[in-house]
Symmetry: C2
Amino acid sequence: VSPTIKDVAKRANVSIATVSLVLNHNPKISAETRHRVLKAIEELNYYPRRAARGLVSQRTGNIGFIATEDHFSRSEPFYTKIFLGTEFEARDHEYYILLTTISPEFSQNSNLPRFVLERNVDGIILAGKVPDKLVQEITRRKLPLVFVDYHPPFDNFPAVLIDNITGGFKATEELIKNGHTKIAFIGGDIRHPSIEDRFQGYKRALEHYNIALDMNLTVVDEDYPAIKNGYRAMQKLFDRGERFTAIFACNDAMALGALKFLKEKRIPIPEEISIIGFDDVEAALSVDPPLSTIRVNKEEMGIQSFRLMLEILESRMNMPRKVLVPVALIRRRSIALID
Amino acid sequence: VSPTIKDVAKRANVSIATVSLVLNHNPKISAETRHRVLKAIEELNYYPRRAARGLVSQRTGNIGFIATEDHFSRSEPFYTKIFLGTEFEARDHEYYILLTTISPEFSQNSNLPRFVLERNVDGIILAGKVPDKLVQEITRRKLPLVFVDYHPPFDNFPAVLIDNITGGFKATEELIKNGHTKIAFIGGDIRHPSIEDRFQGYKRALEHYNIALDMNLTVVDEDYPAIKNGYRAMQKLFDRGERFTAIFACNDAMALGALKFLKEKRIPIPEEISIIGFDDVEAALSVDPPLSTIRVNKEEMGIQSFRLMLEILESRMNMPRKVLVPVALIRRRSIALID
DNA sequence: TTGAAAGCGCTAACAC
DNA sequence: GTGTTAGCGCTTTCAA
C-alpha cells in the first residue's frame, strides 16, 4: 500500500539507516545525500509509520486530554476551546491528542480511560476539576501530568491556570474607578480555588483603594456558579436589605443570573447598579446591556498546557511549574460612572 | 517498564503465540490454557501495545474525526456532542478517535490533517459541511469516509443524517393541529440540504392537510441560519404585510431571532403568533416563552456514524448506506391553540 | 491444541 | 558519512 522506508532507500540508492538518519535530522549526513533522500521522500509521498517508530522509540507520539463529560459538553465552549488550543499546538509538534471524557462520579471501580491502561499516550492533560481518584490512578502509573484550569489541593503538579487574582483585582478596580465603593461580590462555592482567587482579587482591590471589606455585601455560599445561583445570590443580597451600587460576579453565568433578577425587579442597569462578570462567555455579549467582564484566552491556555507537557517529556523541567495566563478587562455597557 | 507478551507467556508457561491466540479469542485454545493465560494477564495487569499490534496488522485502531473550526467551537455544542457520541462508541470497540479541525477556507494548498498524510487512521468521519476539496483529497487517498450531518452533492457516501423531512413535517403538523393555517416558514440558504429538507417537510405537511402553499409566507433567501438572520427574516415578512398566526423556523437560532423581533414589536407570544424551531438547542429552553422545537439526538448521531465506519472497516457494507436518525417533537409554551 | 519462527517498519548501536 | 544488523512487541503461517 503506502511506501516504506525501504522504498525510499531503494529510490535514493542508500541504506534504510541513512533514510532514518535524514528523517531524524542527523547532522552527519552530507548535504548531497540528504537532498537525494528528501527528493525520494517527496516523490514517493512517504511518511514514516508511527506505529513502527513508536515500537522502537517506546514513545507513542500521543497525548491524552481528559475532562469530565459535563464540563466538555457545556454550552459555553470553554474546555472545547482549550482543547482546540492544545490540539493546534500538538499538530505543530507532531503529536496527536486523544480526547476522552470521564464521568464526574469517577471512582474506585470506574474504568480508567483505555489510553492510560494501554499506555498509549506519553502524557496526560487534565482539563478542569477532575475527581481526585483519577489523578491518583494516573500518577500511580507514572504518566506525566499537566493540569489546565484546575489544580488539585493534595499535591503539586505542573499547571496552566487563569490569573484569577489579577482578574478579580482588575474587575473590582474597574468598578472603583467608576466611583463605586459599595461593591457586592457574588460567588459560588468559595472552596473552589478559582472562585477563591477571584474573591481574593476583590479583597485586595478594596484594600488597595482603602475601601473596607463588608462581608454583608458578599455571597459566597452558593453552589456551582450557574445562572440560577446568580439569581438566588441577588435574592439573598436584597433580603439582607444591604445597599450597593455595583456587583462583581465571580463569573458571567452568575452575572447573567443577577442581571435577570435585577431586570425582573425593574432596576435599571447600569444606571442604578453596575455589574461586571468574569470569563467573557458568548452570552455576555448578546445580553442587554452587554456585560463588562474579564476575558480569558482559552486557546492560549490549551497551547500553554501542551508546551508544559512538552517540557516534561523532553525533561527540560526541573520543578512542577505553574503558568498563569493573563486576563484582560473587557469594557461594555453594564458599568456606569457614579459620583 | 510495563509487561509484554513475553512476560505473560513466561508466567503462564506457554509460548507467546498462545498468549496472542487467547488475546484474539481464538476458539482452538483449550479452556484450561485460556484460563491460565488470562490469569497471568490479570496478575501482570497486561495490555497489548497498540503500536506493536498495528505494525503487523496494518491497522492503526484510530479513526479521524474532522469538522471545521467554526462548527466545532460554536457555543451550541452540536458537533461536540456528536463527537462525544462517536468517541463513546469507539471506546466500546477499542478504537481511538483523533479529532482535528480544519479551516472552512480549506483549499488546494492547505495542509491536510496530519493523520491523513501519515495514514495514521483507518477511516475518517466528517462532521458537518466541509469543503469539497477536503473530501476529494481524502477519497483520493482511498481512506474510508463517513459523513455525519452533511452529505456532499457530488458523490455518494455513507452518511448519518437527521431525518429533516420528517422533522419539518412534524413541526408544521403540530402548528396545524393547533388550528393554524397561515404558517410562515423562515429558513436560511435553501441550497443547504438540511434546510431544503425541512422546507420539504413543511410543504408536505401543508399538502397533507390541504393547506395551500403561499410562497409569500416563506423566507428562504437568508444566509446562514443565525439569530440575526431570523430577526431579518421576520422583518421581511412584516414588510410584505402578510398575515400569519404561526412560524416554523428552520432552526432554533432563527426562531430565537424571530422571537426577538416579535418581542421588540410587542407582539405577544404565543397568543398572537405561535412559533416552533428545530434542533433543540439549550437556549431554546431558557428563553421566554420556552420554544417548542424538534429534538435531535446528537450523541446518537455520533454513535451511528462510528457504527457505519465499523461496518465499512469490517467490509460488512455493500453499498454506501444512509442512516436517518429520528427526531422528536418537543412541546413547550411557544405554541397556542387557536380556533 | 500449542510452539517456532518469520516479519511488520522503523531506530540505534556499531562497523567500516 | 553511510551501511549492517539486532531488535521493539506483536500476529500469523506452518509444523508438530
